[in-house]
Every structure is written in C-alpha cells, then in structure tokens.
Symmetry: C2
Subunit: 209 residues, 2 copies
Amino acid sequence: MTGIRAKQKEKTRRALINAALNQLDPQTSFFSLSLREVAREANIAPTSFYRHFQNMDELGLTLVDEGGLTLRQLLRQARQRLADGGSVIRISVEIFMDFIANNRGVFRLLLQEHSGTSKEFRLAIAREIDHFKAELADYLLNERKLPEHLARLQADAMVRIVFSIGADALDLSAAERAELAEDTILELRMIARGATALQKPKGEYNDPT
Amino acid sequence: MTGIRAKQKEKTRRALINAALNQLDPQTSFFSLSLREVAREANIAPTSFYRHFQNMDELGLTLVDEGGLTLRQLLRQARQRLADGGSVIRISVEIFMDFIANNRGVFRLLLQEHSGTSKEFRLAIAREIDHFKAELADYLLNERKLPEHLARLQADAMVRIVFSIGADALDLSAAERAELAEDTILELRMIARGATALQKPKGEYNDPT
DNA sequence: AAATTGATCTAACATCTGTTCACTGATAAA
DNA sequence: TTTATCAGTGAACAGATGTTAGATCAATTT
C-alpha cells in the first residue's frame, strides 16, 4: 500500500498543495493562479499536474478542505485552553489571531475567496464557516443559556466580525495584530452584552435605536 | 466646451464604465475581466479603450469612485428619511438593502474587491468605507453621546456586519433580502445595546465573557 | 525474469491576452 | 476654406494560458 511509488506521488501532491498555498499573497488570489504557475512552483511539468487533480478547481476545493481542518483545530485548541479558565472572548480571539498568522495561506483562501468568484468555492467555504458558527451558537445556547434565535444571531455577528477583522489582520505585524485583537475583543464584548440585554428587554429604558 | 466630439467621447466612456459594471456578476470579479471583454461589451475596438483609460486599473479606480459616490448618496438618503422619525437602525438597514439591490455592480466591486487582489484597489475601497465608518462614528458621538473610542468601535463593528451581510445579500430575492434585513437589524441592536452597556459598566453584574 | 503500470517528461496545438502601429474621417480651430 | 486635432479602426506582435499526444523508465505485479 505504502510503496515507494505511492509515497512519491503523495509527496508531489503535497508539493502542489503547498505551491498553491505559498503563492497566495495579498496580490494573488487563488483564482489568479494558473495551473502552470503552480506546477512551476512545485517543480513538475504542467502536464503532470493532471496526475493529481483534474483541474485547478479540484486543487482549490482540496485547499478549502484543508481550511476546514484548520478551523476545527482552532476550535479544539480553544477548548483546551479554556479549560484553564480565563476570558472566553479574549482567549478565543488570541487563538484566532495566532492561527491566521501561522496559516496565512489557508486563511487567505478562506477569508478572500469567501466572497470570491466561483460558486462552488463560495459554497464550500460557507459550509466550513457555518460549521464554525454552529459550534459557537451551540456553546452560547448551552453555556450562556440564550434563546436559540438570539444565540444563532450572536454567533453570526461574532463570526462576521472576527472573519472581517481577520482579513484585515492577515498581513500585519505581530504588534499591529495584537492591537487589532484588543479592538476585536471589545467589539465582541459589545455583542455579548447586547445579546444578554436583548434577552431581558425589561431594562431601565428601551433605547430606540 | 460641450462640442459634439466631447459629448460622444463621454458617451463611450460611460459605455465602458457600464460595460464593466454589467459584466460583474457572482462568477466574475473585476480582475477577471479583460480589457478586450470590456471593449467588446461596449462595442468599441480593443485599441479604442486606450483613448479613455490608460489601462484596466484606471477604469477600476474610476468604478471605485463611483462606489464612493453611491455610498454618499446612501447616507444622504438615510438622513432625509430619518428626519421623518422612526428606528435609526431599521431605516438605515432598509436603505442599505435597497441600495445594494439597485446598484449591484458597484456594490459587488466594493464588497468583493474589498479583500481583493490589488493593493491600490483595496486601499481605495478601504478609504471609501472608512469615510462611511467615520460619519457613523460621528453620529454616535454626537447623538448617542458615546465616548470616542467606543463610538469608533461600535461604528466599526456595525459597518463590518452590514457589509458582510450585504455581500451575502447581493444576489438574493427581495423576500430573502428582507429576511436577512431583519437579522441584520437585530445584530445591530445587539451592538448598540452592548455599547451603551459597556459605557456604564456599573450594571447589575459583569458578564465574564 | 518478463510484462504492466503509471508518474513524469517534452513538444506542440489553439486560444486568449495586452499593446504598438499606421491609418481614417468627422469635428474643431485657423 | 484650409488646416489640425483626435476618437475610432484593423492588422499584427509577443507572451501566457489550458490541454492533448506520445515517449520514458523506474516501481510494481505476474
């Protein structure tokens, strides 16, 4: 099963995947990559590409899978670190920022191609983000005892904020990213506070905003 | 000044602008457009393009200007309708949704190319959105009497939410858009409530989120 | 040991791209 | 009326792209 041949094939497959991810930078979206560029970066002939993927779209969807995997690792790591106690929001934001810094290529794909040009792509990415959102909504439902609709909306708002800021943070220095993280934390706290406030609408007064 | 010649030139210039805007659809970002495609759609020879713009980038930046104009019209219209009274958030969201429905091309550019591939583009769009954010922060500062930092952050959060949802809403039916608008309103109310709550942190209890 | 498989290569194709050049002909200026 | 301007044209270029076809030759299977 793990013959020399299969191993070598897997190796150049990874080379292709990494070639694509490494080519993604602020000026280069996945769809501006050409098959030939990727093959060149992976040091194989353009024609060899077809031994691994039917076309660039298939490579791209593979990368999106990779992105989903990364998001799930993020959640797992967040849960672990939360067991030690501390502010949920702060810890989550810090982990998120770490992840985008250490997985730039994949997050670029997720955050940029999110409103991108290919329907299949957008749907695949939306699916991954929806998983993420659903897990967050679940947490809010169980731990924070919010009504379902409110939990869903709070999760939606939070994920939109975090991913939007994340896109901005992708190419900042560690210091700038830390600054943005503080803003993010405050914005998320607004949302959390607001959600619990909306839950008990018998507050002092009803802000007519 | 307004000779036959100048008039005709302005007309084909508009034709080029509209050709580009009309080609933007869910599957086609501005940077996937070719000069030749745009010229074809505008019914001129590819070479004639250069009589109007130095290259596609210049056309693109012109479209971004168009987008800024649209955003300013949106604000003006919102202010007018607000004079008649009503929920600020509801009115604003409804106007926004109307605008994206009626200016799909321009908003696609603003919302898609926002995290796009060209630095010049991203900066130009960020500039327009920052104007928008600044006007909103001003309003929150003056009308809602929030401290500056909080006003800035609230505006930031709101704009991120609205533009993120806006991108999703671009190609929905009117009914689906209206549904999304309701969710948007609730999410924005969370933020507004949360911001005023954070302002007076002596509330009943401090949620350790 | 012989036969087969399959990941890789080079060469070649048709097609699209941005851009240049010299030209035309109606409008504008003299 | 003569002259100059200039938006628009078609032909042609060099380069990049996706994709096909055929050959190579080491790893695998028989």
